[in-house]
């Protein structure tokens, strides 16, 4: 799809002639060129804003942030360099996400498949669902202390909600006609579950896990902002107490890039596990 689109665009452009105007038109139609313009524009505006501000201490330029990134990548802060802190956060995210989805996905599936389970679990879940996961933090610290457990607890709660909702909806919204089709082919209950319910519900379930992971990532930062001695949230707080905005911004950039990479990896995984879903992804 993408290649044919680019193809038609280039054909269109060459048909306009080969002069400089055509060249400009071709460049302006190039998606990647515009991406670069967008990011470069942001950096330039940021730079001039920082340079013209009265106190450069509170508004560092992009170069200062880059410098700071280089420094904290090599220097230890509270016993760890940037990568050590990043790993601390990721480690918590992975454990919390694993717990949240291991509880949330089966619970969502059972709720969708059995109305008694649904009737018992749904009211409680509906009560917990609207609470922001961060609101558990004080309680979590009282229960589990300021160690790893309280952070993992919050992340697990945050990850559980979208994992459960999406696996529940994914199963409930399976096209009933597909059940007709598989039953006409002679499937028993178990075969119906394996051959239709699970594969048909899988894309929604997977989308839920993607949301879970991004919620988990914001939860870890919030938890670390409140109390931690390592992690990206801690690094940002450290930047604040040390009055080093460049350090805060470095931390934020690393957080954003990490989240972006996680999402990118997950969409690749999705393409690999549901190749039939390509149509919907474009």
């Amino acid at each position: 799809m993408k290649t044919t689109m680019e193809h038609t665009i280039s054909v269109h452009a060459t048909s306009q002639g080969n002069g400089p105007a055509a060249f400009v038109r071709r460049v302006l139609k190039n998606r990647h060129f515009l991406y670069v313009v967008s990011i470069a524009g942001l950096l330039i505006i940021w730079h001039f804003f920082a340079v013209s501000s009265k106190d450069s201490k509170y508004m560092p330029t992009p170069f200062m942030v880059l410098n700071e990134l280089w420094r904290i990548a090599h220097e230890n802060l509270a016993g760890k360099n940037l990568w050590g802190h990043l790993w601390s956060s990721l480690h918590r995210v992975l454990i919390g996400f694993a717990i949240g989805s291991i509880v949330g996905v089966p619970l969502g599936l059972f709720m969708a498949l059995n109305r008694y389970v649904n009737a018992l679990v749904k009211p409680v879940f509906d009560l917990i669902k609207p609470m922001p996961p961060i609101s558990w933090i004080s309680l979590a610290i009282l229960w589990f202390g300021i160690g790893e457990e309280s952070k993992v607890f919050i992340i697990a709660i945050g990850a559980l909600v979208p994992a459960l909702i999406n696996s529940y909806n994914g199963i409930r919204l399976v096209d009933p006609a597909l059940y007709d089709a598989i039953r006409m082919l002679g499937a028993n209950r178990w075969q119906t579950l394996v051959e239709v319910t699970f594969p048909a519900g899988f894309p929604a379930l997977f989308a839920g896990l993607q949301i879970s992971l991004s919620v988990a990532w914001s939860c870890v930062l919030a938890a670390e902002l409140v109390s931690a001695r390592s992690g990206m949230g801690f690094l940002i707080i450290l930047g604040m107490t040390m009055s080093k905005p460049a350090m805060i911004l470095s931390g934020m950039v690393v957080i954003a890039v990490t989240a972006y990479l996680i999402t990118a990896v997950l969409s690749k995984v999705e393409k690999w596990v549901c190749p039939w879903k390509v149509e919907l992804m474009q």
Partner: protein, 265 residues
């Protein structure tokens, strides 16, 4: 015609499907609203007969087919398949749906072999059989394609192959070409006739097109144009195959049915 010879002709052919005064009432809002959909339909289909049920939209013809398939239960009356009452869906009846209803996560091969897989057949064996039917419907080379990569006509070829591969006693087709453009529809009608002649089955085919019915059917049953659906008339089509849409006899029959059913087409 003398009565005796007619009886002979009847006993010569085994009755495959028998609908005995099938009625259906749909209930909505907890039974407060009752919609009668079918009214006392009685018909039988003999072995290897191609029966076409014709009626306009909303006349209950799809419901009748779903009752034969066991996907709906009749409110009164029953359906017999080989003399046994139908009590639910099963692999002895193969169904082709209007909206294709292929499994999007399965390839063409995966879809066609599904029934055999459910029946517990070994992979090698079912691949061979599925391959035969993929060839029969003219989709060789597309075994590894996913449904979203196929055109409507190709999707319905997969639907037909999937139903055929399971070797059902009867084939039920529910307006299978209703979503296709006119040209593809003609082609698929020809293909259906060709496939059926190659491997005969007892077929119940539901459509709203009289032309399609005359092209395909051994016998046509028309339903009345409003709910609840009642049987109107039956026509035996004795035209030789392959049929021509512009054949004189073809047009005559088509005109007669059109005239009598007051259907536009």
């Amino acid at each position: 015609m003398p009565v005796e010879s007619r009886v002979d002709a009847m006993t010569d052919e085994t009755i495959k499907i028998e609908c005995r005064s099938v009625s259906k009432i749909f209930k909505q809002r907890g039974g407060k609203v009752q919609i009668p959909v079918l009214n006392s339909i009685s018909l039988s289909v003999v072995e290897n007969e191609f029966l076409v049920i014709v009626g306009p939209g909303q006349c209950g013809k799809t419901t009748l087919l779903r009752i034969i398939g066991g996907l709906e239960t009749p409110t009164t009356g029953n359906v017999l398949l080989d003399g046994k009452e139908v009590s639910g869906p099963g692999p002895d009846r193969g169904m082709v749906f209007q909206k294709y209803t292929l499994f999007p996560w399965k390839t063409v091969m995966g879809n066609v072999e599904m029934g055999l897989k459910l029946g517990g057949m070994s992979k090698k064996e079912r691949r061979e059989i599925a391959g035969h039917y993929i060839n029969l419907v003219g989709l060789q080379g597309f075994e590894k394609a996913f449904p979203h990569q196929l055109s409507g006509g190709m999707k319905q070829r997969v639907g037909i192959a999937r139903a055929y591969a399971n070797d059902p006693k009867v084939l039920l087709l529910d307006e299978p070409f209703g979503q296709l453009d006119a040209q593809t529809r003609y082609l698929m009608e020809q293909e259906t006739a060709r496939i059926w002649l190659a491997e005969k089955k007892t077929v119940v085919f539901v459509t709203n097109s009289i032309e399609e019915a005359v092209y395909l059917a051994d016998r046509i049953v028309t339903l009345e144009g409003k709910l609840p659906g009642r049987m109107k008339s039956t026509y035996v089509v004795n035209l030789p195959r392959p049929r021509e849409h512009i054949d004189k006899e073809f047009l005559k029959l088509r005109h007669m049915i059109t005239h009598e059913t007051e259907l536009l087409l």
